[in-house]
Symmetry: C2
Subunit: 164 residues, 2 copies
């Protein structure tokens, strides 16, 4: 939850930037003094000026989410300067592809079982139908925009679980 | 693939910044003049100075991936100023959770079938074993760092497929 420490002590942003934290400071609700690293990361990766511009272009109720996602991206980039949080996206995409393949195979087995035994499988879970022709099929992953790099592992560190 | 257009015309970065593109320009291999929007996005979100610092801290062979992931994050933030590419991470996390649940349910059905019919299910796919007690179990998702926001939908636009 956003909180303003502006009237007690300077917010983490103003303290970092060594300036007076005035009432109405755009950073104060989102960068409390007790979380100095949050602003340090955002400043290092995005810069105070760019974040100020971005926040000023948003509605007040959107700003907390924007700051938190910027802080998330910044922390990921500090930890992994080459791939940042895009490494997590690649890892998750591979998880989705693998799970989808396994689910397709399991569904195929269930169809085969049901046809061999001339039965329909009872519902398991609120969204599942195992009667022949009525399988719950997950849609292909509608990723909003494809990753811009080639088909290479972006980071070995994110590849855990790929070899099982 | 990185390409240098430095000696023909200024790279997209130098053209954007209205400066001479000198030999050895750190941007030139990654921001060819025919892709002006790539640098415009990166400049808007991260700033030229921050990107220069980041590239200078990397080994030359890491820079192309770094630029491409920065460009990806920048484009996502331009499209979605509140959530950026973190919206995609949240969407993918939910996909993984949903697929894992469905796979667990399908595996449970297969175990039940196998035990009722006193048979073992033949292998389907290179990694699958359907003999009782030998099911392929996917591991829990080892996400490198949890998202910093509360359990709220970050973006309705990324929630496609959640209601099926």
């Amino acid at each position: 939850m956003a909180s303003s420490s502006c009237y007690n002590s300077p917010c983490a942003a103003c303290k970092f930037l060594r300036r007076k934290c005035l009432p109405g400071c755009i950073f104060a609700p989102y960068f409390p003094p007790e979380e100095p690293q949050k602003f340090a990361n955002v400043h290092k990766i995005f810069g105070a000026s760019n974040v100020t511009k971005l926040l000023n272009e948003l509605l007040p109720h959107q700003r907390e989410d924007a700051v938190n996602t910027l802080a998330y991206e910044a922390e990921a980039r500090v930890r992994d300067p080459v791939y940042g949080c895009v490494g997590a996206i690649t890892f998750l995409q591979r998880q989705v592809e693998r799970l989808q393949k396994e689910l397709d195979a399991a569904n195929a087995d269930l169809i085969r079982y049901a046809s061999c035994n001339d039965v329909s499988v009872p519902l398991v879970g609120p969204q599942r139908e195992y009667e022949l022709g009525g399988f719950h099929q997950t849609h292909n992953f509608p990723f909003p925009y494809p990753p811009p790099w080639n088909d290479q592992s972006p980071s070995g560190g994110h590849g855990r679980g790929e070899d099982n």
